[in-house]
Symmetry: C2
Subunit: 316 residues, 2 copies
């Protein structure tokens, strides 16, 4: 308690929160005493009286935590520090209910969701006063979903050297798969719109034997193009194709997502899709700043463009 600054408790609170009218002279005196005593307001006290903590929870899906997500988390952390929020990262567990409870436990002022929360979860959180980010926009339909677009783009790249049968290579491991379905939908949508047969879906484990078995079951002498969930799956498919003696991209063309360093370091170099985090961060940053003003107005509905870049390697 820095009340020994020759001033009362309430005044300190006013200074630190900028509420009442305070002359510059006392303001400085309070700030000096505060920094001298290393005074920090107790989060517990604030949370108790305000009914809400100053915590921002980032909910990460129970999936592979790659470079992309990590960069996003770093950016959000830096951004949130600006707003005097303390960032908490929560990895979703296998039990969604428990995850929601863990998030609620913090009574957070905001929650950044990367695809964990269902509609009911969002409602529950917002009912308790938290802001769920990214905010839902009227045009957040499946067709506008970034992962849907990814599916469409991959198909086009795979068909670059002429028609071939398309397959989606899903990731098979113990974790969940929050993004795969939308990408597969994007593939199917594009194929259907262009009169192509609906692409099949195969599950690829991340080891040679399993991937080989999956690919062997799917391949039938005609060329196929495999759009993979990510670069790791693509590498597994390539390893399987190599083991089966298939030519790339003759019999087998493969494409990944993420543009990982590994994919660009192997031979043949992987064709992959690189997503620019810029727009996502811009949208989150906008929602974050609108948190201060407490204004519900959307800041001009920021750009909806999804700048994806095809990194063309030697596998398509």
């Amino acid at each position: 308690m820095a009340r020994r600054a020759g001033v009362s408790r309430a005044t300190v609170s006013h200074v630190l929160n900028g509420r009442g009218r305070i002359p510059e002279e006392t303001r400085q005196r309070v700030l000096a005493a505060a920094s001298e005593l290393q005074y920090t307001p107790s989060p517990a006290g604030r949370a108790l009286v305000r009914g809400r903590s100053d915590v921002l929870v980032i909910v990460i899906p129970h999936t592979t935590f790659g470079r992309n997500l990590q960069d996003l988390v770093d950016d959000i952390t830096a951004q949130a520090d600006t707003h005097d929020l303390s960032v908490v990262v929560r990895f979703a567990g296998p039990d969604p209910e428990e995850t929601l409870a863990a998030v609620q436990h913090f009574r957070p002022v905001a929650v950044v969701d990367f695809g964990v929360l269902g509609a009911a979860d969002r409602d529950s959180l917002e009912a308790s006063g938290a802001v769920v980010i990214p905010k839902l926009r009227p045009d957040d339909t499946l067709e506008n979903n970034a992962n849907f677009t990814i599916g469409e783009l991959m198909v086009q790249e795979l068909l670059r050297k002429g028609p071939r049968r398309l397959v989606f290579g899903a990731l098979l491991d113990e974790r969940s798969d929050p993004f795969g379905p939308a990408r597969y939908e994007g593939m199917k949508h594009w194929a259907q719109a262009h009169g192509l047969p609906i692409p099949r879906r195969m599950e690829i484990p991340l080891h040679l034997a399993g991937a080989r078995a999956a690919l062997q079951a799917e391949f039938a002498d005609e060329p196929i193009g495999v759009a993979c969930y990510n670069d790791a799956v693509a590498l597994a498919v390539l390893a399987a194709g190599r083991d089966l003696g298939l030519s790339v991209p003759g019999h087998l063309s493969v494409m990944g997502v993420d543009a990982t360093a590994e994919g660009q370091l192997v031979s043949p170099r992987l064709t992959t899709l690189k997503a620019d985090n810029g727009p996502v961060m811009a949208r989150i940053a906008a929602d974050l700043t609108s948190l201060d003003g407490r204004t519900g107005a959307h800041p001009g509905t920021p750009e909806r463009t999804r700048p994806f870049t095809v990194i063309r390697g030697e596998t398509t």
Copy 2:
């Protein structure tokens, strides 16, 4: 407030914390009312009166967050849920001071550190009443450090096919490198003990051009063995060697750490080191349970064995 269970506020507290003597009948009545009203004690209230929150902070170094760390985090989260702790993951930022402040901000009951905290940070946290895990043991010397052992093991594997000049391949990216130095020390220690010249150190960026330049500067016709910081670096070195026309493992033998799926899916298959998380988790779990009893006694100083497995591929 579930005080409308026909009973007073204090009684509820007694029931939920198991303090006073309470007859089974009222106990059940309170519990029934609590679950009916979905009553959950306010974390803020508890934290305020107890001076400490029920938070366990996991501090992750500002480095590549790979599969290993993710598994550990998942395990710790599950373990901590058992002890009624809420887990918070904090990614260390570029500024260590800010990271410490962010951790202190939670006034956590425990902190699990993966190599971020310095001695002063530990002291500061423990002074504020937090338990820092893993607890320091008397025999936690550099030579007993797991990363030190990794360095020693890699050297032995690289020399399997006869003597060659050794190099450490450090990771060069914008993040920090918490584990690399200890591994390099392990290498140097083993080499010195066996009368070999001190291994040099080169920094490898995760793209072909940079890796190629680094390797070209280091290679001088005699065979070399590169012990890499992790599998990604090893793949970069392999790509560089391929581009320079070096034979593997004739001119260039390479070894990684982590046993990532990617490393086992490429050709040539990577020789790498797989670390079993079991002992680390056992130690953390022991420290975690000793948290309940508040006993400072070490539970028998658990096994110090470091079960590392060499996954021998085609690069050594």
